[in-house]
């Protein structure tokens, strides 16, 4: 069951003899938008919300009156042991943003909030973000700023990526750096301002997208981990990707994106010097690697330390090993690889549309 820390819901407890003005002050301070009225033993006698206070004032109660007769003496309560699904069904049906949880003796044991109930559970898998590139194709924008720190809307690309993972419950990051590492470290620090833990791995010399992995502290990787280029704008669901990786029992899962190329000519097929067909400006659709991977942690032990290696080479290497499996996961939603100026502008337009 999703719970608030003990002190959070304890700060919402109140005695029924307190005055309305004290209760308003208490409600304001607790920031939970609800007070739970309890007797000395902790048994719940009711709840008090802004709505109850408003109704009490309309009925003529004064600010120095006790809250008796104002609070809701028959609130909806959950029983300890109820499933999240059951609490959500009750909250949805009765339009409740908070739900006190009581034990068999009607004593308060928890206060569940809708926000807390709908929060995705914390995931322990780590996320490695590759942010060392020189961003040559995006010059002059990248002359004084590493590509992952270019702002899309109001936030750097890397921040959008990090926040997206955090929203999905993943909050432990390693960022590999090479070009202007200080700009990245100064912005994100240890990640605490973002509700995350961020560590950095610096490549003195570029080691390629897979080679940089050999610098990661292997002892901290005991589960599959995400690897993603730090210049991709996407709405991929990491939880769904992880589920696919587990279902396929893959060693590596490569995210794919459909890419269309139109040939600007009439394409002909020839059979024994005779033309058999002609197709004008055909569109070819292929799947391309999207720069997002899930890797088994055991792979880290197989990488030669400090040697240059790109992910396509590693994937090719692993996929030709008979027993190893390289899975795939198709991205159907948003995916923009911000490698060139027109991609950068496309990403700006997308974020601008979302914010308007």
């Amino acid at each position: 069951m999703m719970s608030f820390a003990l002190k959070a819901w304890q700060s919402a407890l109140i005695d029924e003899t307190v005055s309305l003005s004290k209760a308003i002050q208490h409600l304001d301070e607790s920031a939970l938008q609800i007070l739970i009225v309890c007797d000395a033993s902790g048994a719940v006698k009711g709840t008090l919300t802004d709505g109850d206070i408003r109704r009490g004032l309309i009925q003529g109660h004064a600010l120095n009156d006790p809250i008796t007769g104002i609070f809701n003496s028959s609130p909806t309560l959950a029983r300890a042991g109820w499933s999240n699904a059951r609490m959500l069904a009750v909250m949805e049906e009765r339009q409740l943003l908070q739900l006190p949880v009581v034990d068999d003796s009607n004593t308060i044991v928890d206060l569940v909030t809708l926000q807390g109930l709908l929060s995705r559970p914390k995931q322990s898998n780590k996320v490695v973000l590759m942010a060392g590139g020189l961003g040559t194709r995006l010059r002059p924008l990248t002359e004084h700023c590493p590509k992952p720190m270019l702002k899309i809307g109001k936030e750097p690309i890397l921040e959008l990526i990090i926040k997206s993972f955090i929203d999905s419950g993943y909050d432990q990051f390693f960022i590999t750096t090479h070009y202007m590492p200080q700009v990245i470290q100064d912005y994100f620090g240890d990640g605490s301002d973002f509700g995350a833990k961020i560590s950095y791995v610096h490549e003195a010399e570029p080691l390629g997208t897979a080679g940089a992995l050999s610098l990661l502290p292997k002892d901290q990787f005991d589960e599959p981990f995400f690897l993603m280029n730090g210049d991709i704008l996407t709405d991929i669901d990491p939880v769904s990707l992880m589920a696919t990786h587990e279902r396929l029992e893959a060693e590596v899962t490569v995210c794919l994106r459909e890419h269309e190329t139109q040939i600007p000519f009439g394409v002909v097929s020839v059979n024994d010097e005779y033309l058999s067909s002609i197709e004008e400006k055909p569109i070819h659709r292929v799947s391309v690697s999207a720069g997002i991977y899930l890797l088994d942690n055991a792979l880290l032990g197989l990488l030669p330390e400090g040697e240059y290696l790109d992910m396509p080479d590693l994937i090719a290497q692993r996929s030709t090993e008979g027993k190893q499996k390289v899975g795939t996961y198709h991205i159907n939603g948003t995916w923009i690889d911000i490698g060139r100026i027109d991609d950068f502008q496309k990403a700006q337009a997308l974020i601008s549309n979302l914010n308007n």
């Binding site: 699904a85 069904a89 943003l97 709908l118 995705r120």
Partner: protein, 110 residues
Amino acid sequence: MFSTNLLDGTEVDSSTLTPAHCRALISDEKFDVVDRFLTEGHPSLTSVERTKLEVLCFAASSRWREAALSVESYLNLVDLNDLSTFDVVYLRKIASNGQRFDLVNLLKDH
């Protein structure tokens, strides 16, 4: 005709299905049964009721992508100005979990 029994023994089938029945099944975590009711037949439910229950069923079973799709369908069926504070918080959080930031932004000002 598809039918099932609630925990209290009440028999429910597609023709007598109510939102309360669906919520009881969701509370018991019988998500697949609700899924089947909602996809196979639901003559007693309105489109709004059905879609709202889809949102709840998917959210309760942490199927966020599908839940967010149902949020989109629900928003197409109702007037945004009629949404309660609860609805806005609830639907926005689900849309966010489903990575549908267009819906999150749509709900932001309501």
